[in-house]
């Protein structure tokens, strides 16, 4: 929840607030044995080995910043989805599913899949054909240097800050789960990330993201499998849950359906209406994040061909659809299998309750995933599960740092500081900026440690920019008439709208009834409707201003706008290698999942 996705996806707001996970500490949940320590040590050795090995593969700027554009569709696709698979995401959403049921899966399905497929099938050709190295780079080609610089500076600033937040979050979780010292976690993780990103660049970050992806599945998949075995499968779980609700052991609620309680804000515990989920989360937030956030788009831009670049998000979408199996399902299973030492059903509570009752032995919702790991994973396997969490944190940091390095060097340093230099110069700058980025992250981590309220503001800041940027990019890509002034004012007023609505609700919580259009709306609805108003403002202002200003000649728009760009013809391939075929399959699976859990 507060990892990189603290961009907009996280800002969509998981109910068990990210910051809340960090405001208390308790005795450690798990104790590692020598075998577990060995598993963790092997991971660190592997990471450093990869970094040193890839150093020789990062000699040119194209290699260092874009991984040589050599990634296969599978590597780019796994890295693409892995960049959003941070450990606190996993823990936070598992906690949400314990608290609210399967509603939390909306963030993995409608909140991701349509946007990922749209990126691959519709937007990727433009990003790829214009050979841009970044999203601000695309804005420069389409709208000019001004909007590009604004986007680059805000993204670079926020990204490196988020890296620090991620670093601190990891240290806190390691303290809660394992009792590790905060400084130890921060120093070890930052040294490892600095080493492998500075040495191998984006390729190293991507390799480690794929490694993390495998570790997360290898370390966490066992938990729902063993949970389902214990409960007698999905139907057995539902029967036990129904029994618990009937006997008053579990809070009443519809934990296993996604849409049927969305008819009104007051019908579901999240306080959300289906319009907010479909248009706010499913469009304004998820399209903003998955199609314009450079952190994820950078992975796809590193693909070795247009077909691979289009296929990567499609491959990623299948894995994204499967993530609830290792995140949502363990949270749900925790409702019926977690027990206290005396054998009674364990009841997890909010962080405020835990904090108010120190020493009572209570656990928070966000601890459900570690608790399930401790329940099912023996020596070695527990080490693997913990390694998966560490890998998630570290690759999140590495993703932020590598994106920061590329944006700073290409979109700030090159156009504004040293315009023409030898390629080696920019690679050296990239390596130095990587180290600087990690150092800033460490400062940010300690700043957050001393004032944890900062974290909420950092997450909110990210959400201010993503949705209006979506409006600007979409109009720029699909409307030839959009002008430089239209893009600038659309971005500016869309962002100001988002900030104003956020501040309004922050200082007057009752204003939520106006922002979310219902007095029954709860906190989570605010992000969705705010994003919707923000992107609407961005598009509306862009259209109006563009109609009153002079457009660029169409010949200047070749390569960046639909209708002015001849797309390269792709070689025919068998249907099982065709991206449209797999997109169709992904849509069918997506619809089937939503209907099954309706």
């Amino acid at each position: 929840m507060f990892d990189l996705a603290s961009t907009s996806i996280a800002a969509a707001g998981a109910p068990s607030s990210a910051a809340a996970l960090l405001v208390y500490s308790a005795s450690s949940l798990a104790h590692l044995g020598p075998l577990d320590i060995a598993v963790i040590a092997i991971y660190f050795a592997m990471v450093i080995w990869i970094g040193f090995y890839l150093k020789s593969k990062a000699n040119t700027s194209e290699e260092f910043f874009m991984a040589g554009r050599e990634m296969t569709a599978w590597i780019a696709g796994l890295s693409f989805v892995s960049a959003n698979l941070g450990s606190l995401e996993l823990m936070g959403w598992a906690g949400s599913s314990y608290q609210y049921g399967i509603l939390a899966a909306h963030w993995y399905w409608v909140g991701a899949i349509p946007a990922m497929l749209f990126l691959g099938m519709v937007m990727m050709p433009f990003y790829y054909v214009c050979k841009t190295h970044s999203v601000p780079g695309y804005l420069k080609l389409r709208y000019g240097q001004g909007s590009s610089t604004v986007a680059a500076v805000s993204f670079a600033f926020m990204t490196v800050l988020m890296s620090g937040v991620n670093m601190f979050a990891m240290a806190e979780v390691m303290k809660i789960v394992l009792g590790w010292d905060l400084n130890f976690s921060i120093i070890v993780s930052s040294l490892a990330v600095a080493a492998y990103v500075a040495l191998g660049g984006l390729r190293s970050a991507i390799f480690n993201e794929v490694l993390q992806f495998v570790l997360i599945w290898g370390g966490a998949l066992l938990v729902p499998i063993l949970g389902l075995v214990e409960t007698g499968g999905w139907s057995g779980f539902k029967a036990r849950l129904a029994h618990n609700i009937a006997t008053g052991a579990t809070t009443p609620g519809d934990y296993t359906h996604m849409w049927r309680s969305m008819g009104h804000f007051s019908d579901n515990p999240m306080g959300i209406h289906w319009t907010g989920i479909l248009f706010g989360l499913g469009f304004a937030i998820s399209f903003g994040y998955w199609t314009t956030d450079f952190l994820v788009v950078q992975r796809v831009l590193a693909a070795n061909s247009l077909r691979s670049a289009r296929m990567a998000p499609v491959i990623g979408s299948f894995f994204k659809m499967a993530v609830p199996f290792i995140v949502i399902l363990p949270g749900l299973l925790g409702l019926v299998v977690l027990t206290n030492p005396d054998g009674s059903l364990m009841h997890l509570v909010g962080e405020n309750v835990v904090a108010a009752n120190p020493g009572a032995g209570l656990h928070s919702y966000n601890e459900v995933l570690p608790l399930m790991m401790v329940r099912y994973l023996g020596p070695g396997l527990l080490g693997l599960g913990i390694t998966a969490l560490i890998a998630g944190f570290m690759s999140g940091m590495a993703g932020n740092v590598s994106a920061f390095t590329a944006i700073f060097t290409y979109d700030i340093y090159q156009p504004h500081i040293v315009k023409r230099a030898r390629d080696e110069h920019y690679v050296l700058v990239g390596r130095i900026v990587t180290i600087v980025g990690v150092v800033i992250s460490i400062f940010a981590a300690y700043a957050v440690m001393n004032a944890q309220g900062i974290m909420d503001y950092v997450q909110a800041l990210f959400s201010f920019f993503i949705s209006p940027l979506l409006g600007v990019v979409l109009l720029g890509m699909f409307w030839k008439r959009a002008t430089k002034a239209g893009g600038f004012w659309g971005l500016l007023l869309g962002t100001l709208t988002s900030i104003a609505l956020w501040a309004w609700v922050k200082f007057d919580p009752s204003a939520l009834r106006y922002v979310a259009l219902s007095p029954d709306a709860k906190d989570m609805a605010e992000n969705m409707y705010r994003a919707l108003w923000s992107v609407s403002t961005s598009v509306g202002v862009n259209v109006i201003v563009s109609l009153f200003t002079k457009p660029r000649p169409i010949e200047e728009l070749a390569g960046v706008v639909y209708g002015a760009t001849p797309l390269p013809k792709e070689e025919p391939v068998p249907f099982y290698n065709n991206e449209w075929f797999w997109t169709a399959i992904a849509i069918v699976v997506f619809l089937a999942l939503n209907i099954y859990f309706w």
Binding site: I42, L211, L377, G378, L384
Partner: protein, 68 residues
Amino acid sequence: MHSSGISIWFFIGVLLTAYGALIFGYGLYELSSGTMAVANYHASVWWGALLLAAGLFYGLRFRPRRGE
């Protein structure tokens, strides 16, 4: 990825092989000594074996060859 030397899948194969060997080995020891936790369902044995098999497959299938 082959064009750039060692494949990422080789690294993954090495890692999974090491993890699989450790966890599978411990699972066998646990099985023989009868210290298995009830909720564990001998997971160390079969999950460790799965990791080991996957690791060996990827490690061998994507091992660096001469000239790469």
